[in-house]
């Protein structure tokens, strides 16, 4: 009874109802903030850390990224005649340490984040899928 005598107006709930109604009627609010993902995408920042990319000409295959990777994600493998890193995305932390430590600035991370795949093997990105050629791109 004490509770009802104190709260019989239900002012708190009514206040809440007003706030939610404001949202329904879009008063002072953006109507929707979500995006319809597969059809529209959010803008990524240039620093986004997604799938790796390796500059074909800059990389010297030194293996510093391999040593510094916290999770043992990177292995240096032979590709054609030179040695390049191979990244196992399934284990990758996307921490960016490999980018930081690369002495030739050959490793970078792209904005590609849709990396789901059907097999574990296809998560291993060999040099054939990671390499890019700076001259060709620019």
């Amino acid at each position: 009874m004490a509770w009802i005598s104190k709260n019989w107006t239900m002012s708190g709930i009514i206040k809440g109802l007003i706030v939610t109604l404001k949202h329904v009627l879009h008063i002072g609010n953006r109507p929707t903030v979500t995006v319809q993902y597969p059809y529209e995408r959010m803008k990524l920042s240039p620093r986004f850390r997604g799938l790796h990319a390796v500059d074909e000409n800059a990389c010297i295959g030194c293996g510093i990224c391999e040593v510094n990777c916290p999770n043992g994600t990177i292995r240096i493998v032979k590709h054609n005649t030179r040695w390049y890193p191979q990244v196992n995305i399934g284990m990758c932390l996307f921490c960016g340490i490999c980018v930081d430590v690369c002495p030739m600035n050959a490793m970078k991370m792209t904005g590609n984040y849709e990396l789901a795949d059907y097999t574990r093997e296809s998560l291993i990105y060999g040099p054939d899928r990671l390499l890019f050629n700076k001259e060709v791109k620019q």
């Binding site: 809440g16 109802l17 939610t20 109604l21 329904v24 929707t32 979500t34 319809q36």
Partner: protein, 371 residues
Amino acid sequence: MGMIANAYELIIYILEFFGVYGPIKNIFQVLGIEFVLKIIIVLVEVGILFVFVLLTVMFLTWMERKVVAMVQARYGPMVTGPRGLLQPVMDGVKLIGKEDIIPEKADRWIFTLAPFIVFIPALLVFIPIPFGQSLIISDLRVGLLYIIAISAVSPVAILLAGWASNNKYSLMGAMRAVAQDISYTIPLALAAIAIVLFTGSLSTVDIVNAQSGTWFGIIPKWFIFLQPLGFILFLIASIAEMGRIPFDFQESESELVAGFFTEYSGMKFAMFFLAEYAHLFAVSGIVVTLFLGGWSFPILPFVPPMLVPLVSLGVFLVKTYAVIFFAMWLRDTVPRMRIDQLLNLGWKIMVPLALLNLLLAGFLITVWGAF
């Protein structure tokens, strides 16, 4: 039009209007099976009602999601159909396609039976609800009692479901549902009885008719103006009956996982789901019938008589959807209560208030009668 009491007569009237009723009736009379025609017409009207209810229920699930989405600055379903309108169909297809799991330790028969016992009363409750002038399956003389009685079946089914699942969460959800339903049917019925005092009849049609017309030509003679306290009590009690936030203890998903239907899947789950929304629609319709004047509206006398059923149906639906929207809106605003707080509220506050309201109603009628 005034003589047409229910949908059965309306169908006959329409058939007569097109001049086909006589010949059809003759055929059946010649064959000596006139009762078959009656059964057919009843089946048709009931069929139309059920299809209508199921479509409404599907629409309501969509609407619920859209209202929630609007409050929460989201889109809600958008992909299936225009603005996601066909999402309920897809959900139905998905649920039918799902594996129907019966837990090993469950009581198979009761487990299977329970969804039906929930689902059927949820449809039966529509029978005495007047959707519009002469749009009523059957104007029972004890309509209101029938509604309250039928609504009281679902806690039994919920208890069966919760017990048969052999799951602790289900059982607790079922116990809560029963405690809640019992303690809220009483203020609900008491608030409804106050209306009966005014009308002197349990028939829903009589209740609606008593609310047609206006005072001073402006204020419609709805019982909400005579019985504001009763309306609030009835609304709160019916939200509790519907089992929606802030009173959704029977499923309270953050406490009891999914309450009494934790173990249900596939079509059986869908039946609980449909029953829930059918209940929402029915209870909102009852609120409209009792307190918001049903299908009556001050402009109705000026509508050409041929269109009255249609217009009154429209009026009824607009009012019902307003109540439904309120329930959804409330759901998006408030958190869930606690079960003991709810019972406290029910027994210690709402029942005395409902009795007080009854007293007020009696007083009002006496004073009214004196004038």
